[in-house]
Amino acid sequence: MTERSVVVTGVGVVSALGLDHGAFWSALREGRSGIAELRGVDPEQVGFRYGAQLPEFVPAEILPDKEDQTLDRCVQVGLLPAREAVADAGLTFDAELGARAAVVTGCAVGGKLTEDGEFRKLYAENKKRFHPLTVPRVMGNAGASRISLEFGITGPVFNLSTACSSANHAIGHAFWLVRSGAVDVALAGGHEAFFCLGHLKAWDALRVVAPDTIRPFCRDRSGMILGEGGAMLVLETREAAQRRGARIYAELAGFGMTSDAHHLTMPSVDGPARAIAAALHDARLEPEQVGYINAHGTGTPANDPNETKAIRAVFGAHADRLAVSSTKSMHGHALGAAGALEGVATVLALHHGVLPPTANFTEADPECDLDYLPNRARAQQVEAALSNSFAFGGLNAVLAFRRA
């Protein structure tokens, strides 16, 4: 049996750049950043001042159902892009399709806002009672389960938590489920919302958050900027998409994953390089076919030169002919959702023939010597593109997309 081709037919995004994928893409192609002063938490207490939070919204307007308004924000930012992606794909789930469908999400830290609020009641306000729905609100699979309920999806439904690689692991596994024939359609992506004092303090203590903004690959970079949001992709077979006349954004062609087994937080070159090579191999792509890489690009001192070396290790001389950008410079680092936001950015780059830039770019670090698309998008139709995620714990996951 020949392997099934898997395509992306719907996308949905909520992020600091807006509440749908149209707003997301407009900002990316304009190089416009959603980073702003923190809201809802006191920067003096947190220790850093900037983040990429969702624009202000009235919950009743975008989540008219009362019950949805009581969900943890982390689940809301998964449900919203799932609805958008399914509508965008023009897909309707009946019982039969629901049983042949999967939901695979990446969510690394779960319902931190609910948890922080309940802990505050206990430790600071001397209250005795927790809300009875605390557990189902904070569990990591709350988003995946809520999405399965929404559409009546009764096949494989699960969440993956692998820090900053969660969404790429999720999309990759969903892709393999569809390609293998285990399911016919999958909703895959990631969602994360954690802007509360308790969690932000943990990031501050690690000393990796920039005091002003993120400048990936630049000499004067000073760390990452955290972001919240979610993104979902509808994956189905090319055959099914063509049969129902669906628009195909891009083909999801390959997935590669490795572990560094090197250090809890410091990356190796070898692990990321092997993950990139594995994704190319899985996609049956030659390195020379790749024209764009959406980088992990966190803007930390360690990641950026390391990722540059890993790209050089795989692509050799071709590294000088491909474009690389970090869209985290615009939507921030959304942890478990990062790969989903960046996967949608990569899919839309292939679809529109426009490569999104690295915003806030000043001057390249001498150790970062690739074409990082500084500050301006480039109109360029590439044949294939990668999206990199490299997590704490040394877990690397890379997706390979091909033009539809």
Binding site: C164, A205, L206, R207, V208, P211, R219, D220, R221, S222, G223, M224, H263, L264, T265, M266, P267, H296, T298, T300, P301, A302, N303, P305, N306, H333, F390, F392
Partner: protein, 106 residues
């Protein structure tokens, strides 16, 4: 806040605190630690260094700014930096962030 009723600790006292904290965290014999010991020589990686600075911040009730923390590569860097923070003096930083020691990739 720092207790101003006590005299500031001397450089020797700070050195002993740093050596003791390093000894405790990494199982290093404090007698083997000198002011010129480099973290790298002691097998202290970037994450270990963050933990060491956290421990010293707790003990001495000071906040070491991120940019200063990233510059600290030797026991002397830490002792001198802590001394300045305790006396309320600024910690000068070189203009360029220098070679990245980096806590992590995130």
């Amino acid at each position: 806040m720092t207790d101003h009723t006590k005299p500031d600790p001397t450089e020797q006292e700070l050195f002993e605190k740093v050596a003791a904290a390093l000894g405790e965290a990494k199982g290093i014999d404090p007698a083997e630690i000198t002011l010129d010991s480099k973290f790298e020589q002691l097998g202290v990686d970037s994450l270990d260094a963050m933990e060491l600075l956290f421990e010293l911040e707790e003990q001495l009730d000071v906040d070491i700014p991120d940019a200063a923390a990233r510059q600290m590569r030797t026991v002397r860097d830490v002792v001198v930096g802590l001394g300045k923070l305790i006396r309320g003096e600024p910690i000068e930083l070189p203009e360029s962030p220098g070679e990245p020691p980096a806590a992590a990739q995130a």
